[in-house]
Structures are given as structure tokens and as C-alpha cells.
Symmetry: C2
Subunit: 326 residues, 2 copies
């Protein structure tokens, strides 16, 4: 969104200064991966949310720069470690850290980034630092729990839709909520207002992930940024679509579902699953669930007494984020 | 040391309560490894140092319990990740976490322990929390740097004795220094006094590691707690003994050294290397270096104006720690 371009630029400069500061640090095996993963780009959505939240309370967004840096460093630490866990060779079109260097370096450089993500918060006053790190610790642990739950689901016999929502909430959504809350803390917002922007970010994150599931199955190649369609279906990934189908299928549909899961003909597998999804209106179900969380996100902002134009901009921003995927 | 038995017990109870608190936490894959590694025992030297430092300033050692818990959790996090890096199957006679579960679980449960090691410090006042975590962040990063340097040395063409001392300082010694400093912070000690106990712990840690190198090569089986003698020699590990030999050897001795390094006959390899060490008085060199750092440790306490009996107890404790290995 154009409105936030100055904030995005402000953070980009802050991040660039950080990356410059780690150049030539020794041992290089520990710091080069940090500079590398931060150079791969990305939307920088989390720090942008921190700056937006700070600005929302009419405090110079400069105050949220280190909170934003903390969440961006944490996010990139989690990418390095998650790529090891998922044995992923490619990240944003480039080698993952464990492929470019090795697993040992990926583990250790990730550990350092995790510590640094907390360390950068020490530029705040003691009182702000304590509040910021309280949110950060809780969130960091939830993100790890979400990743573990995601791994457990691969082999779990029974996973329900609520289990799945709980998992994506921890793995993805809470860090968006925390980014906003930390921006609000940097602005000196009240606990109530902190909770409001946190809930906004959390529900937005859930909606975002649900639409991501939908996109993986139903997007046309054009709007899907060249991603492979049906990757989740081919991997039998327990997404919202997969789990909702299991919930709604009758006996015959359940038998068909099991056959599709066992099918190894790639093209046929995707086609048959998409037919079954359509037959059960799973795409509508998923859109509706995403709408519910979008609505919850917006409702969370209701009691917030801030400049109404800024509040509307934030709501528009949420819609535009969700639309890009839909 | 008997004098410190009440402090050791006090921490043991605190740790037990912590372990009890993580029982039945979900997902269990993330918390069981923490309970497991904490159950494997260990000297709990780092938290004991934190409690000793606090008591040294005549403040109830209770104030240092969470600082001690933080360093013990951090130490155990680093064991979990280091065991992956070293592909170590056994830790204290039991399976390492990545062997008992798997590497993914070891990475992720270690990450959670790292976050929790910082989180437990939030029981302190904002001012104390900020001071404690400042020391902790710096130290945690140095420990990672030390581990990376240790890995780099395996394949490095040139490693000097000062390089080696720098590595063990980061990998092992700074956490002992930090443990004491954090106990001193919990007691409200001045920055000068914090620095004194930090330096004491750091130099003690260096002396400890140097004597550990010596023990690996020269200990009689009885005093070596059943460890294999000559493990470092067999692995061509670049210890103080190895590097000092390279520094002092003449041309003929250097040629002999290279032949021993290339020798794959285990018994002969250890015997020949020990002969060369003795010929060059490397054992005396190592003892002398350890003495220098022990002396630096004790000197660091000189300006400390505390109860002289307590100060002497601490010096005695240092000597007893070093003697156990010598």
C-alpha cells in the first residue's frame, strides 16, 4: 500500500545499517548466513506492522525501528532453522543456508540470530525493554510450538480443523500480532490498546494462512506468482481444505478421499482432489473461515480511539494483503 | 566443597520445581527433551557460581536462583545443539537428545530452551532484568562464536596458542564469568565488583579447560573418572598440548610430530605423542599456563571489599575445582 511506503523505506534503511554492521564480523561462518538470508528480500511485513502500530498512536515510527528489527531477525532465524527441519533446498529462489554452507553452520548462525533478535531490544528504556521482551519470549515459544505441531500433524492419525487453526495461529499468526503489539509498546500505548492491535494481527494472520491454503489449490498460475499449483495436495498436507473435507465427507466421499490420498499419479491426484473439494464446497468453506477471521481482526480495532483515518488505512491495508492472495 | 552444600541444595530444589513445571506440557516433543537433559545430572557449577557470588555480597542467595536457572538452561541448550554439531551419541552415559528423539526435535527443543533461559530472567525488576540480560546476550553470542571457532580449528591450517586460548575463553570460560557476574547483579553489586567476579570466573574457566586438556593426555585411569586416555591425541584435536608442541618443536621434532599425527596405530600414536610431549616439557608448559590463569583469577578478586572469610572460601573453591582434575 502506497500510504505505508515511507515506513517501509524507513525500515529498509534501518535493516541495511544492521546488515552493514555485521559485514566483516568474525567468525564469518556465523555472521555471513545472517547477512545472506537478510539479503534474500521478503516483504518485511512484520517490521512494517510494528512501524504502522507505532504511527497509529501518533508516535514517530522511528521509535519502533528496533522492535521491527527484532521481529524481522526472529522471523529470519526461524526460516533458517525451519528450512533444516523441512530439508528445504531453496528459499526465495536461492540456496537455503544449510545448503549454501552446511547444517552445523545453519544451526549455530540461527542460534546467534535468535539471541540478537532479543539483544536489539536493549536499545529501549528498561521498562519498555521488559515489556517488549515479555511479548517476544511468549511469542517465540509459541512459534516453536507451532512448528512442532506442524511436524506432528504429518504423522498424526487424527487432526481436527480447530487443531489446525491452533497450529497456524502459533506458527504464523502470533508473530504478526506480536509485531503490532511491540510497535504499540514502543509508542507507549495502553495494555488494552496493545491487546487490540495484537488480536487484529493474530486474526489477520490466520485469515492470511487460510487464503494461502486456498491459493495453493485453486489459484490460476498467473496470480500464484509461478508457484506450483496443488503442491499441498501432492504432499498430502493436512491443510484446512484437507481437514474440512474429512469433516464433511460422507462414506462414499471418504472412500474416494482415501483413494486420492493414496494415488501417486500427480496430474490425476490434483484433478480428483479439486473435484472433491468443489463437490463439498470446500473453497467456499475456506473463504468463509478466512472472512470470519478478517472480521474478528477488524472488530478487535473497534474500541481503539485513534485517528480514524489512520485506523481506516490499517483496515484497507489488511484487505489489500488478503486480496493479493485471493 | 562442603561450605557450599546448602547453596547447591537450594539450587537443586529450584531446578526440580522448574522441571516439574514442564512435565505434561504440550507438544511433549518440545518439552520432554528439556526435562530429559536436565535429569542427566551434572555438577550445576554455573548456577552454584551465581549463588556464591550473590552470597559473597551478603545478599540472600535466593535472589540469584533465577539467574542460576538461566545459565543452567542456557548451558543445557548449548549441550543439545553442540551434540548435534559434534554428532555425539552419548552424553553423561545416556543417549543425546538427537539420538533419543531426532535431529529436528533436538534443534527445536534447544531453541525453546534458549528462549526460556532468557525468559526466566523476567522475574527480576526491570532494571535488574535489563542488566542481567545485557550480560547474558553478550555471553550467549560469545559461546556460539567459541563453538564455531572450535569447528573451524579442525580444518584450519594455522592455529596459534593465543587463538586457542581465545576459543576456549569464548566457548567455556565466559559463561563461568557471566554466572558469577549475574549473581553479583542479583545482589546489587557495583559495576566494578561485577567485573571483578566476572574476570575471576573467566580466568578460572580458562585454567579449568587447560587442565582438562592435560588430563585427557596424562591422567591415570583412576583419576580420570573412566574416560578414555588420549582421546584428544587419537582425534588429532588441536589442544593446548598439540599447539604448544608445534610452537616449540625443532625441525626433527616437527617431522616426528607430523608422522604421529598421520599414524593410525592407536596405541603407538598415543605413546609416541606422550613421549614427544614429555621431551618438550609440554605438561609443565600446560600446568604453568593454567597457573597463570588461576593467578589472574585470584588477583581479580583483590580489590573486592567483602567478608574476607567468604572471599577465601571462594579462592579455596577455585583451587579445589582445579585440583579435582590435576
Amino acid at each position: 500500500l502506497k500510504t505505508y511506503a515511507p515506513l517501509a523505506l524507513q525500515f529498509a534503511e534501518h535493516l541495511q545499517a544492521h546488515v552493514k554492521g555485521i559485514k566483516n564480523k568474525r567468525p564469518s561462518e556465523l555472521y555471513d548466513p545472517e547477512a545472506y538470508i537478510l539479503s534474500l528480500g521478503g516483504k518485511r511485513l512484520r517490521p512494517l506492522l510494528a512501524l504502522i502500530a507505532c504511527d497509529l498512536f501518533d508516535v514517530d515510527s522511528k521509535a519502533a525501528l528496533d522492535a521491527g528489527l527484532a521481529v524481522e531477525l526472529f522471523h529470519n532465524f526461524s526460516l533458517i532453522h525451519d528450512d533444516i527441519l523441512d530439508a528445504a533446498p531453496i528459499r526465495r529462489g536461492q540456496d537455503t543456508v544449510h545448503m549454501k554452507w552446511n547444517t552445523n553452520i545453519a544451526i549455530l548462525s540461527g542460534d546467534v540470530m535468535l539471541v540478537k533478535s532479543l539483544q536489539v531490544l536493549q536499545s529501549y528504556s528498561d521498562a519498555h525493554y521488559a515489556r517488549l521482551s515479555r511479548v517476544f519470549h511468549t511469542t517465540a515459544i509459541e512459534v516453536c510450538e507451532g512448528q512442532q505441531l506442524d511436524m506432528n500433524f504429518e504423522t498424526a492419525a487424527k487432526v481436527s480443523v480447530p487443531d489446525y487453526i491452533d497450529m497456524i495461529c502459533k506458527k504464523t499468526a502470533v508473530l504478526l500480532g506480536a509485531s503490532l503489539q511491540m510497535g504499540a509498546i514502543a509508542a507507549g500505548a495502553s495494555s488494552m490498546d496493545q491487546a487490540r492491535v495484537y488480536e487484529f494481527g493474530k486474526h489477520l494472520g490466520i485469515a492470511f494462512q487460510l487464503l494461502d491454503d486456498l491459493l495453493d489449490a485453486f489459484a490460476d498460475a498467473e496470480s500464484n506468482f509461478g508457484k506450483q499449483i496443488g503442491g499441498d495436495i501432492l504432499a498430502n498436507k493436512k491443510t484446512f481444505l484437507y481437514l474440512k473435507t474429512l469433516e464433511l465427507a460422507n462414506g462414499e466421499q471418504k472412500a474416494r478421499f482415501d483413494a486420492i490420498v493414496a494415488n501417486i499419479d500427480k496430474i490425476e491426484k490434483v484433478q480428483l482432489m479439486l473435484s472433491l473439494y468443489r463437490e463439498l464446497n470446500i473453497d467456499t468453506q475456506c473463504n468463509t473461515a478466512a472472512d470470519v477471521h478478517t472480521q474478528l481482526a477488524i472488530s478487535a480495532l473497534e474500541g481503539l480511539e485513534v485517528n480514524s483515518e489512520k485506523k481506516n488505512q490499517l483496515i484497507q491495508f489488511a484487505h489489500s494483503l488478503l486480496k493479493r492472495q485471493n
